[in-house]
């Protein structure tokens, strides 16, 4: 069990002075961050900036999940992975870069693909989960696990020059991913970043905003983006704030009487593999 910090060091105060002085932040806000644990699922285009800004802001513990290794075609957007780290596991690469930014951040590496067997044991130790993943089954898995564990899920996504952001499972009325998307999309309608491409500045923007929402959740600052969807069109540089539904009364997972009471096989449910590299699951 992690030590609970009850005060800031002089070094903390010097280091975070320009964040501490924000209205509604203060020493208490910084302490909450220092005592917080955030899990970031996916150390790609979204996970890199999200982790960077959480570590820099003084988040005490970060968990990083990714089974993949650093490849050359990651460099244009995954800015924690330097050229020298090609071939290294992404979580190890990210950990090295994050500790250079803030050596007092405790970073735990989960070098694995999340699935319904290991998700609870990985997620349980964290206060807030960031969905920086790149595929549909992982998004449903994270949602269901977060609902069952009662943890807020800061969900970002990006493709080409578009980005989307919202916070699921937050507050009394905040919907979950299944409230909005009860049925997974047909596999042939899903484009991944490998096939569709993506600009690094888009993932950078959405990832930084995910860090911001996580900080707001932890510190209790501002209006969290729950029940609202931010959509970004980088081609025109247009942001829109969309009001989405509250909890769906008959949601299979977050309603009072859920139909789903255990994690399921999400690859089967979605008919897709839990990676961004593959074609649809061959069901027969």
């Amino acid at each position: 069990k992690a030590e609970v910090h009850t005060h800031l060091t002089n070094d903390d105060i010097a280091r975070f002075s320009r964040q501490l002085i924000l209205p509604g932040f203060g020493v208490q806000g910084q302490l909450k961050l220092k005592n917080s644990a955030v899990l970031i699922v996916g150390m790609g285009g979204l996970g890199c900036p999200a982790a960077q800004y959480l570590a820099a802001a003084g988040c005490g513990r970060l968990g990083l999940v990714d089974y993949d290794i650093v490849e050359r075609n990651n460099f244009h957007r995954q800015t924690l992975h330097s050229e020298k780290k090609e071939g290294m596991s992404k979580v190890d690469s990210a950990r090295i870069a994050l500790l250079e930014l803030n050596s007092s951040c405790q970073i735990k590496c989960h070098t694995r693909l999340l699935n319904s067997l290991n998700a609870f044991s990985v997620l349980r130790a964290y206060d807030v989960i960031l969905d920086c993943s790149d595929n549909v089954p992982t998004r449903y898995l994270l949602n269901d696990a977060c609902v069952m564990l009662g943890k807020p899920l800061v969900s970002g996504s990006a493709l080409k020059m578009d980005g989307q952001l919202t916070v699921y499972n937050y507050g009394a009325d905040g919907p979950c991913y299944r409230c909005i998307y009860p049925v997974p999309p047909p596999p042939e309608a899903v484009t991944n970043c490998g096939d569709g491409g993506v600009l690094g500045a888009i993932t950078g923007t959405i990832g930084a905003l995910q860090a911001l929402e996580a900080i707001k959740v932890i510190v209790g600052l501002g209006e969290v983006l729950a029940g609202r969807l931010l959509i970004y069109d980088g081609f025109s540089n247009l942001f829109r704030n969309i009001k989405i539904r509250s909890k769906r009364p008959n949601c299979h997972i977050c309603s009072a009487e859920p139909l789903i009471r255990d994690l399921i096989d999400y690859e089967l449910f979605c008919g897709m593999h839990a990676t961004d590299k593959d074609n649809p699951l061959q069901l027969l």
């Binding site: 998307y181 042939e188 484009t191 009001k243």
Partner: protein
């Protein structure tokens, strides 16, 4: 030009435009002498402007899973979904859900 028209704006975002000739914004003038719901709009879109594989937009009578419909920036679920009756100058936005990172 008919005496009575219902003007609405269609918008597509995050890839949904690729099914509609890659045009992100359109102004429509519909026949204003009849009542238009989102259901009848979807039929009209299928017949008139859907250029790519219809199964990537429609499933049965409604949009396929993974496409959000927003009317004046509000989730259509809050407004009656398919039964919502379109009003003059309504803005109807179709958003593909993104899954990448």
């Amino acid at each position: 030009m008919s005496a009575k028209e219902l003007q609405i704006n269609l918008e597509f975002s995050a890839g949904a435009e690729l099914l509609f000739g890659n045009i992100k914004r359109r102004k429509l003038s519909l026949d204003g002498t009849v009542k238009w719901t989102v259901a009848s709009l979807l039929k009209w879109m299928h017949a008139n402007i859907l250029t790519e594989r219809p199964e990537l937009f429609l499933q049965g009578d409604t949009v396929r899973p993974g496409i959000l419909v927003l009317i004046n920036d509000t989730d259509w679920e809050l407004l009656g979904e398919l039964e919502y009756e379109l009003q003059p100058n309504d803005n109807v936005l179709f958003i593909s859900t993104l899954h990448g990172g």
